[in-house]
């Protein structure tokens, strides 16, 4: 029995498939790869997987995380390779590493911070953006309405926007970097930030790309291979997939 963590990329080709669709897709790829998956007990067995915080529909990311459990120990590099052979274009395991002797199911419950790169193109005054960002960060309170299937309610986004900077701007667009609170205890969605900046209308083409997932909690226990923040970062790191 062995547990593996995979960091994967959700690319352009699949940015319109939902998190549920993505999970099904990965499960099927694992079965095609004939990995010796551990299955749940009961009438309807399914592989024991857990996933990091879902990406919003339409967003891409390369700091996405999942765990899978196998009956037997395996070389993480081989797991990665076998899986990648069976994954459709746009989904790719970027690195995989084993958690030796690790019995508890890792559920990524403590990941609560996400970095997004937000690119906006279209007709707008690029000069005014820095002012709007500053004004937004100076606000005491940023109330947004949330509804969906549930009754509408107001949420204050301000404490959930940890940082927001204009990383670049030009004639035809700008790039923003946002660090947002995420996860089950409440979070800001990148679209909401874009709406607050007045860029969410039809004249703008907005792309969201998640570049990092972190745990803010100091109590995060060290894990083999480092702490959460290092696992989830998408920037180049030492190749770890064959080191375990």
């Amino acid at each position: 029995m062995a547990q593996f963590i995979c960091r994967y990329r959700k690319g352009d080709e699949v940015r319109w498939i939902s998190h549920l669709d993505l999970k099904r897709t990965l499960e099927r790829a694992m079965r095609r790869a004939a990995l010796p998956l551990q299955l749940t007990e009961g009438h309807n067995p399914h592989p024991k997987l857990s996933f990091g915080p879902p990406l919003p529909l339409g967003a891409t990311g390369d700091a996405e995380l999942l765990t899978l459990r196998l009956h037997e120990a395996a070389d993480p590099a081989a797991v990665k390779e076998r899986l990648n052979r069976e994954l459709p274009a746009g989904i790719e395991i970027v690195e995989a590493w084993a958690l030796p002797g690790y019995k508890k199911k890792e559920t990524f419950g403590n990941l609560d911070v996400a970095d997004y790169r937000i690119t906006v193109t279209g007709a707008f005054e690029a000069k005014g953006i820095a002012d709007r960002v500053r004004k937004l960060l100076e606000s005491e309170e940023l109330l947004v309405r949330r509804g969906g299937n549930r009754p509408e309610r107001e949420v204050d986004l301000r404490p959930m926007i940890l940082s927001l900077v204009v990383a670049g701007s030009g004639e035809d667009g700008i790039e923003l970097q946002a660090r947002l609170q995420t996860g089950s205890h409440g979070g800001a969605r990148p679209q909401e930030v874009v709406d607050l900046l007045g860029l969410g209308d039809e004249r703008h083409l907005v792309r969201y790309h998640r570049t990092g997932l972190y745990a803010s909690s100091a109590a995060t226990p060290p894990r083999p291979g480092g702490v959460w923040r290092r696992w989830a970062r998408s920037r180049s790191e030492p190749e770890r997939s064959s080191s375990q």
């Binding site: 699949v14 319109w16 095609r32 009438h43 309807n44």
Partner: protein, 577 residues
């Protein structure tokens, strides 16, 4: 951005596992295969997977897919003046050599016109020029092609595995006139422009007459050897949760039951089955190529497969330990079926479904539904003792010779079943649920009941009221089909070429996705018929005469008119099939 403004954007993106991408320059003919409903419905249709596989297995032919866009996507396309494109290469459908459209059933026909229009292809065949693709139809609806005759260059009657390649070869000729001349010669292919419709009074009276050289009758194409027929084991695996998200094995084609109302049973003869060895091999290949965790054994009634116990047992032996389940989508109402389902199905999904169709033994005899009440109760007993607590029962309202007593008897039958279920379930009886679904009888071409009138909408409403009164109680849930939808289905199903003009008018007035209750507008259809000079009732409620030539008599689907008439006479006399 288009996709950020529609629901389920993955309906319009591709890249699913096993989708085929080819260089268009490397092929002689490009075919767009269209299913005229949304992606999630169309991708559950096995026929589409089969044809996609057959065409793409030829190196010099290419098939790509397209589906009817949901109204939100249609609005986006029209607002931005964009054509409907194929999923794989995003090629506008108008640029293909042929567009092949499935005719699943009558209420999708407005979508067909909409797809052609969004593709920038003239909806009427006569308006198409040398640069337009050939528009080819095929599928269950093809057995009466007349309502669609004006919109299609050709319609294949019957099974497509072999014919689609011959049709693609015709499309490869490049020249429209040459291609049509070639299509007329392909067995099973109906070229409407080679026939002159003839009308005798109201309703579908009068049979189209062939022009020079065209065959007087088109015989349905049938695949002789199902075991040797091509079958897609590299089935495309959708990202979206579709109606059937599982591997499909077609274990049998055709039905030996002979229910007199059933068009599929009548026109898919003879019954053919694949061998156990072939199915085991196809199961292995499909699972390896798709990664699905369930295999569905597809047939009109899968337990009628000769050797079903052996097949099911060997599949369970082989796949059970790998966490892959086996599903029987269609059961017979008897104890054997239930115990088989209990043995092999690991997921107790929504409950078990049986189709008594009628409330009395007399009426079941009329419609040729051979189901004894004893068997139904034995099936229910087996279901309850195996742990099921929910049953779904299909009935049909408005059947030939049906009286109000027959309708009331449905209530009686259901109440006896509920009482029985409460006894059988004991302490778990509060979980008991019997869902009763009352569909409307629709007279269909090529069945013994093709001459029979459908009940008027007033009659149907009265019968629904009887049902509502009779089926009260906390364990019972009743649903029925809107009489207006049923009337339209009957009118189009028994339609002639004039009905096509009404379909076009309804589509221009906004008809889309008529089978999705929320988008159906009966008034729009009634107006469209009337403005065309027709009445829905003349097609739906007419009692047609045995000796009158009918609008679909030039299509031969197997049973000849004389034998259908004999069956009809036996039925109305209350004799067994």
């Amino acid at each position: 951005m288009l996709l950020s403004r529609v629901v389920k954007p993955a309906r319009y993106t591709d890249g699913e596992w096993n989708a085929v991408h080819k260089d268009p320059a490397s092929v002689r003919a490009r075919v767009a295969l269209v299913y005229p409903d949304v992606y999630d419905v169309g991708m559950s249709h096995l026929g589409l997977h089969i044809l996609y596989h057959v065409v793409n297995s030829h190196d010099d032919l290419l098939a790509e897919r397209a589906f009817a866009p949901w109204p939100d996507m249609e609005d986006q396309l029209r607002a931005q003046n964009l054509p409907l494109v194929s999923l794989e290469s995003r090629t506008p459908l108008g640029d293909f050599d042929a567009i092949g459209i499935t005719l699943p059933y009558e209420l999708t026909y407005s979508n067909i016109l909409n797809v052609l229009d969004l593709a920038g292809v003239p909806v009427r065949a006569v308006d198409r020029g040398p640069d337009d693709p050939l528009v080819i139809g095929g599928g269950p609806g093809a057995v009466n092609p007349e309502p669609l005759a004006d919109f299609f260059d050709a319609i294949l009657i019957g099974e497509g595995e072999e014919a689609i390649v011959e049709i693609a070869e015709a499309a490869a000729l490049g020249d429209r006139r040459e291609a049509l001349a070639k299509l007329v010669e392909i067995p099973g292919v109906y070229v409407p422009s080679a026939y002159v419709p003839s009308f005798h009074g109201t309703g579908p009276r009068g049979t189209p007459v062939p022009r020079d050289g065209a065959p007087a009758r088109i015989a349905r194409r049938v695949v002789d050897d199902l075991d040797a027929a091509p079958f897609p084991t590299r089935q495309i695996v959708p990202y979206l949760d579709t109606v059937h998200s599982r591997a499909t094995l077609e274990i049998m084609r055709g039905c030996a039951r002979g229910c007199r109302f059933c068009q599929a049973g009548s026109v898919y003869r003879p019954r053919r089955q694949r061998s156990v060895e072939t199915l085991l091999r196809q199961a292995e290949e499909t699972i390896a190529a798709t990664g699905y965790d369930e295999i569905s054994l597809l047939a009109f009634t899968s337990v009628d497969y000769g050797g079903i116990e052996e097949l099911a047992g060997r599949l369970v032996d082989r796949f059970g330990t790998r966490g892959i389940g086996i599903a029987l989508p269609s059961l017979r109402a008897d104890a054997f079926s239930v115990s088989l389902a209990n043995t092999i199905q690991r997921v107790r999904k929504s409950g078990l479904t049986f189709a008594p169709e009628a409330g009395t033994a007399r009426l079941r005899r009329v419609i040729g539904k051979r189901m004894e009440e004893d068997h139904l109760f034995a099936a229910a007993e087996a279901a309850f003792s195996s742990g099921w607590t929910r049953l779904k029962l299909y009935f049909m309202i408005g059947l030939p010779t049906e009286t109000e007593e027959d309708v009331a008897a449905i209530g009686d039958l259901v109440h006896r079943l509920v009482k029985f279920g409460r006894g059988a379930l004991g302490s778990r009886q509060n979980r008991l649920q019997v869902a009763v679904s009352a569909a409307t009888f629709v007279p269909k071409p090529h069945t013994p009941f093709q001459w029979t009138p459908q009940n008027t909408q007033d009659d149907l409403a009265r019968k629904h009221h009887i049902l509502q009164q009779a089926l009260r109680g906390r364990h019972i849930k009743l649903s029925w089909t809107d009489p207006g939808i049923s009337a339209l289905e009957a009118a189009v199903s028994r339609g002639d070429r004039r009905v096509g003009a009404a379909i076009e008018r309804a589509w221009r007035a906004g008809a889309r996705f008529d089978s999705w209750g929320e988008l159906f507008d009966y008034g729009r259809w009634a107006d469209a018929f009337r403005e065309t000079g027709l009445e829905i009732a003349d097609y739906a409620n007419a009692a047609l005469e045995y000796d009158t030539p009918l609008a679909w008599d030039h299509i031969s689907c197997g049973p000849e008119k004389a034998s259908l008439q004999a069956e009809a006479e036996q039925a109305l006399a209350g004799e067994d099939a």
